[in-house]
């Protein structure tokens, strides 16, 4: 079993430096536009900042992966092709993509560019993954957060490329790349616009000691005094139906796989992805430092559970579908 590669988020140049200094093997980021799935205001990198990031990371022996992982708008693909061209020119270590048109563009225009398949492509079976390998020459696939560890093991036994799985952060319970919940009420989509629950549609209302969270005018949750809060995402909303109030899809919680690293290694996983380009550098520092310790321990065959619930939505964590028991 090979040691797991630690792939860390960077929403800003400062977060990149923090991630590299804290022990990241690779850092991923996006340009400051709709070409990536974390298109939040004030976040992400200019072309010049990416060039500086590459120098900093490479000097420390870390790789830089660029996410160009939203779907190009029909008749307006120029920002996406420009992002691919800039990635190739600056010699990023890999580009993370989902759109088959862009994958074809990258393959034909820049044959030397290493391609990773984004989770946004939602490739969750060997037929789909092998199709991307055959047609576009992808070298790594980021698996959706809907698979169990045995399912990941089965996939790894039937493909010839490396797999990366989500390890910590936002616990998206939907099939990535296919979720329309956010766009249903805000008109903006994580898949097309790079935003789930865009900040422009979010309202927090303090009612005494209670907190009400609204998205596009709809109440998503009400938190009592001192109750741990979460983001106003529809999939983690608390709704009332037939006089009963509860979480319909998922309660506010974050993914954390520090406790199952040995199982993931045994299942043939090559890399762990920390979610959270939209989070602060303080988050990046703490999570990367802890995962560095946990991964090094796992390489020695030791299991180390590190909770980090202080950084988790709702103040709690889960191993999500990896340890799914309901099917």
């Amino acid at each position: 079993m090979t040691k797991l590669e630690l792939v860390c988020p960077a929403g800003t140049p400062a977060a990149l430096r923090v991630a590299v200094d804290a022990g990241a093997d690779a850092v991923y980021m996006g340009f400051r536009d709709e070409t990536n799935a974390r298109n939040f205001p004030g976040l992400n990198f200019s072309v010049d900042e990416l060039a500086e990031a590459l120098d900093y990371a490479h000097a420390a022996g870390a790789k830089v992966l660029l996410a160009v992982n939203t779907y190009a708008t029909a008749g307006h693909s120029e920002p996406w092709t420009r992002a691919v061209d800039n990635a190739a020119r600056l010699k990023v270590d890999a580009i993370i993509m989902a759109d088959i048109g862009l994958l074809e563009y990258a393959r034909s225009s820049h044959p030397g560019l290493r391609l990773h398949l984004s989770v946004q492509a939602s490739a969750s079976n060997t037929v789909a993954i092998n199709h991307y390998v055959k047609e576009f020459g992808i070298r790594r696939v980021v698996l959706p957060r809907v698979l169990t560890v045995p399912e990941i093991r089965a996939i790894n036994s039937r493909i010839d490329i490396k797999t990366e799985v989500f390890a910590f952060g936002g616990m998206c319970p939907m099939a990535e790349g296919r979720c329309s919940l956010s766009s249903y009420i805000t008109g903006k989509s994580p898949n097309m616009n790079g935003v789930c629950s865009p900040a422009s549609h979010v309202t927090y209302i303090q009612q005494g000691q209670n907190l009400k969270t609204n998205l596009a005018g709809f109440t998503i949750n009400k938190f009592g005094p001192n109750e741990q809060a979460g983001y106003p995402t529809l999939c983690k909303g608390r709704f009332t139906a037939n006089d009963e109030t509860g979480y319909l899809f998922e309660e506010p919680t974050s993914l954390n796989v520090t406790g199952i690293l040995l199982e993931l290694m045994e299942a043939g996983v090559s890399a762990l992805k920390i979610e959270g380009r939209q989070r602060s550098k303080a988050y990046v520092r703490e999570v990367v430092q802890n995962f560095r310790v946990a991964i090094d321990a796992a390489a020695r065959g030791e299991r180390m559970v590190i909770e980090m619930d202080n950084l988790s939505e709702g103040g709690q964590h889960t191993t999500g579908a990896y340890s799914r028991k309901w099917m």
Partner: protein, 232 residues
């Protein structure tokens, strides 16, 4: 736009800052304003990349309310510059209001603690234009700003004695925090014990209501069944 919130009665923990707040409430604001203006200028000059990220916020106003201090701080994003001052009653409404303990706000701006984590734990509350807030947060987080160092640099030739004084102050603050926390716990323990007792009693009553409700449903079902049999 959010109206200037009245400073709520202090509901923060019994802490040295709360005590300091009470003592400094009547101090003149002019020197504080000079310090804030100096800090804003220093950050602008030392971190020009931040100003590029703040450009979409031109004209936006943020009200930062440390819940354990008597003064609030108004941040105004201008074209290519940022103004920072103590809030006064004649200022108009702000676009965003941020409330939290002073040390948490400082640590968040310094990049020592995660703002989302403070929000999850309810130590930080935010209201108003969330897109503007997110832009500000991301812009400040994009550079390495050491607020303590920026404050100390404003002391000019007195920087070294001020640094030494800050170290002593931090040490005193930490030990005072521990002492006051112990004192606070000792004072509130009888009340906390009583609350725990009432909560247990309350839970018992809630369980009884649930049991009675189930029994009532069963009895109603039984009655309906008997009525149907009688009708047949």
């Amino acid at each position: 736009m959010f109206p200037n919130p009245e400073k709520p009665p202090a509901n923060e923990k019994f802490s040295p800052l709360l005590l300091a707040g009470i003592i400094t409430r009547s101090l003149p604001v002019a020197p504080l304003n000079r310090l804030l203006r100096h800090m804003a200028r220093k950050i602008q000059n030392n971190h020009p990349a931040i100003m590029a990220r703040l450009r979409p916020l031109t004209g936006r106003q943020f009200l930062i309310c440390p819940t354990d201090l008597p003064h609030d701080i108004r941040l105004i994003i201008g074209e290519g510059h940022v103004d920072c001052m103590i809030e006064d009653e004649f200022m108009g409404p702000a676009d965003v209001v941020i409330r939290g303990p002073f040390m948490s706000l400082m640590d968040m701006m310094d990049g020592r603690v995660d703002g989302d984590a403070l929000f999850f734990s309810r130590r930080l509350s935010v209201e108003g234009d969330m897109e503007a807030l997110l832009t500000l947060r991301n812009a400040l987080d994009s550079e390495d700003i050491d607020l303590r160092a920026e404050i100390l640099s404003s002391f000019g030739p007195l920087r070294r004695p001020a640094t030494a004084l800050l170290k002593i102050g931090q040490h005193l603050f930490q030990s005072l925090s521990r002492d006051m926390s112990s004192l606070s716990q000792a004072m509130t323990k009888p009340l906390a014990d009583r609350c725990d007792g009432l909560e247990q009693e309350n839970q018992g009553l809630r369980d009884s209501v649930v049991r009675l409700d189930r029994m009532l449903t069963k009895t109603q079902n039984r009655l309906q069944s008997l009525t149907r049999k009688k009708t047949i």
